[in-house]
């Protein structure tokens, strides 16, 4: 009996503060006064009944942080993509090749690439992330050492490639041969891990828009990755972020590049289908 009244009372209390602060703001993101970024979109079909709108993490950041993304001269991430452009053209490894030897101009050859990753790779017989593909090229085509999965040079190269898709809609495939991996990722998204027993969905599906202590929870979208974070002043990879969030549930994390995080990345990416590629984004 008591329980019922308690709950009803609680429900009435919950509604007010949530309504007041839950909204993602209504700002619009146009980069360099030229590239229009879709930061809110109708949710993809697979999210029917779960959320109606998908929203970029940009909307949950302060005006000051948001402003850093409006102009590439202000965006600290572009320093790293400049460095990666040098790497793109640099010969490395036993085959005497650079990325450019096979792919020429990054601006044309890499257009649209980021928007469809992670994706099924027929030859490898598995879903591959962009990082896995980069290392594949380094090892198989260049005879160069692979980058450590979530290292700085990897993040920079990924950011450079992502930049060429900025403004294009995220459109990862979840059917066909990718379906099994996608299901695995979905399972992980809803699994409550660690001593705090929290899932990704607890924070990013049920509570986006709410404050958790000093943090304004977003939907945990990855259309802006790699992101430059003011907190650690470097580019952050998707798997680096996943590790941090899982650790914060007092759980044992998965490793960057593990099959579990690859599956989770596919699933989380698909929750952003319809948003623009926004990478490299700026977050706090």
């Amino acid at each position: 009996m008591k329980r019922k009244t308690g709950r009803a009372f609680m429900a009435s209390l919950i509604v007010l503060p949530v309504m007041a602060l839950a909204e993602a703001d209504d700002d619009t993101l146009i980069i360099n006064e030229e590239i229009e970024i879709v930061t809110k979109a109708e949710a993809p079909a697979h999210l029917e009944g779960v959320v109606s709108e998908v929203i970029s993490g940009w909307h949950f950041r302060s005006d000051e942080t948001q402003a850093l993304e409006l102009d590439d001269f202000e965006n600290p991430a572009l320093v790293y993509t400049d460095q990666a452009l040098d790497t793109w053209n640099a010969v490395e490894g036993s085959e005497g090749k650079s990325c450019a030897s096979c792919h020429d101009d990054v601006e044309t050859s890499m257009q649209g690439v980021r928007a469809v990753y992670p994706k099924w790779d027929e030859k490898a017989g598995e879903v591959q992330t962009l990082s896995m593909q980069i290392n594949d090229c380094r090892e198989a085509n260049m005879g160069a050492e692979p980058y450590k999965y979530d290292s700085a040079p990897m993040a920079a190269m990924e950011a450079l490639i992502s930049l060429q898709s900025r403004g294009m809609p995220v459109d990862v495939a979840i059917d066909g041969p990718a379906a099994e991996t996608w299901e695995q990722g979905k399972e992980l998204y809803y699994t409550r891990t660690g001593q705090l027993e929290l899932s990704c969905a607890n924070c990013h599906e049920q509570n986006y828009g709410n404050m958790i202590r000093a943090d304004h929870l977003s939907q945990g979208q990855i259309n802006g990755f790699p992101t430059y974070r003011l907190k650690n002043a470097k580019l952050n990879t998707v798997h680096g972020r996943f590790k941090g969030c899982v650790r914060d549930t007092r759980a044992e994390t998965y490793a960057a590049g593990s099959p579990e995080f690859v599956a989770l990345e596919l699933y989380v990416a698909s929750r952003g289908n319809g948003l623009s590629v926004e990478a490299p984004a700026v977050r706090n």
Partner: protein
């Protein structure tokens, strides 16, 4: 193990012959998820309870709950309901049950169990991201801290 010894020492110091607190898996909940018996047999200290509520490494309750009485501590969250007045409409036994393991009252709730050491998926060694063995897990709060928090919550009357 360390935890049990410490608690024993504390009880001994207070000159009390009270039994050691139940281990988390042996706490007895009633059918509504309330816990009638104090975990320590001693009254909690509301001032220390307030400290636990705002301390990140302890309860960090304000991460999810707004508590006007604790407004000097910055940044109260909105994930759970505000706790103003909660001592007026919840019994002490209910509050104890909620703090120990809120899922006994609210099955799907996001609120973590603060005196709970079993049944986790991939439990970690604190916030290191490394694995912990279930048998090595300590509850997030000690039995006394739970009682302190409950005592503090009971002071929240409208």
């Amino acid at each position: 193990m360390k935890h049990v010894l410490l608690t024993l020492a504390a009880v001994g110091f207070a000159g009390q012959a009270f039994a050691t607190p139940p281990v988390p898996s042996e706490v007895e909940f009633d059918e509504y998820g309330a816990v009638e018996a104090s975990l320590t047999g001693e009254p909690g200290d509301p001032a220390r309870g307030a400290e636990v509520m705002v301390t990140r490494s302890l309860g960090n309750c304000v991460a999810c709950h707004q508590v006007d009485d604790l407004s000097e501590a910055p940044f109260h969250g909105e994930v759970g309901p505000p706790l103003n007045g909660v001592g007026g409409y919840r019994t002490e036994a209910e509050l104890r049950g909620i703090v120990i393991d809120a899922k006994m009252i609210f099955p799907e709730t996001m609120m973590p169990g603060f005196y709970k050491t079993t049944g986790f998926i991939r439990p970690g060694d604190g916030y290191t991201g490394k694995a912990a063995k279930e048998e090595d897990l300590e509850p997030i709060l000690t039995a006394q801290q739970v009682e302190d928090v409950v005592a503090y919550l009971m002071t929240l009357q409208d």
